[in-house]
Amino acid sequence: AQSVSQHNHHVILSEAASLELGCNYSYGGTVNLFWYVQYPGQHLQLLLKYFSGDPLVKGIKGFEAEFIKSKFSFNLRKPSVQWSDTAEYFCAVNLMENNDMRFGAGTRLTVKP
């Protein structure tokens, strides 16, 4: 079955630590990839997206993600997290052939000051 897997359910880091959140998908066709962030009590907001071209994508607030097609992965990274990055992060994959958009289960990030 088509799925999106986020490896970490809850990540706890100290400020200034580096972050990498994993995302893998099982679709075989052409995909568009997204990372969304949901701050406590708020709606989802787009962090970054990949459609084509350079597989290293830069988003807002210093986040970036790398699409590795051979690994079906789209991991999110940030070199130095801040307390304000505490949120839940969702990976999403759109399969272009059938308009299907699937979200991962989310990774909760807690950054300790």
């Binding site: 709606h43 989802l44 787009l46 969702f90 308009n99 958009m101 699937r102 979200f103 289960a105 989310g106």
Partner: protein, 112 residues
């Protein structure tokens, strides 16, 4: 900017009751979506609509009904609510199916 608004923000009801959650967007986006967010499951698609009068089932559509008589509105109805439908419901819209979606603030629905 008004963007996408959901109402009500919070709702408590009883099993067997009919509940309608409203969603309104001001961008004239073609696509609209309903998701439910549950711990451990992330967001799961309930229904989506590609345009007025065109709707399609998502991953978890059983027990839900939608309509889209106007481009800007996409109400979601639980015809006979069950406890398993207690969740946070998010509406979203996008100009095209593969474009980033814009989300509403959510409706927290509790069914007793």
């Amino acid at each position: 900017d008004a963007g996408i608004t959901q109402s009500p923000r919070y709702k408590i009801t009883e099993t067997g009751r009919q509940v309608t959650l409203m969603c309104h967007q001001t961008w004239s986006h073609s696509y609209m979506f309903w998701y439910r967010q549950d711990l451990g499951h992330g967001l799961r698609l309930i229904y989506y609509s590609a345009a007025a009068d065109i709707t399609d089932k998502g991953e978890v559509s059983d027990g839900y009904v939608v309509s889209r008589s106007k481009t800007e509105n996409f109400p979601l109805t639980l015809e006979s609510a069950t406890r398993s439908q207690t969740s946070v419901y998010f509406c979203a819209s996008s100009g095209y199916s593969n474009q980033p979606q814009h989300f509403g603030d959510g409706t927290r629905l509790s069914i007793l």
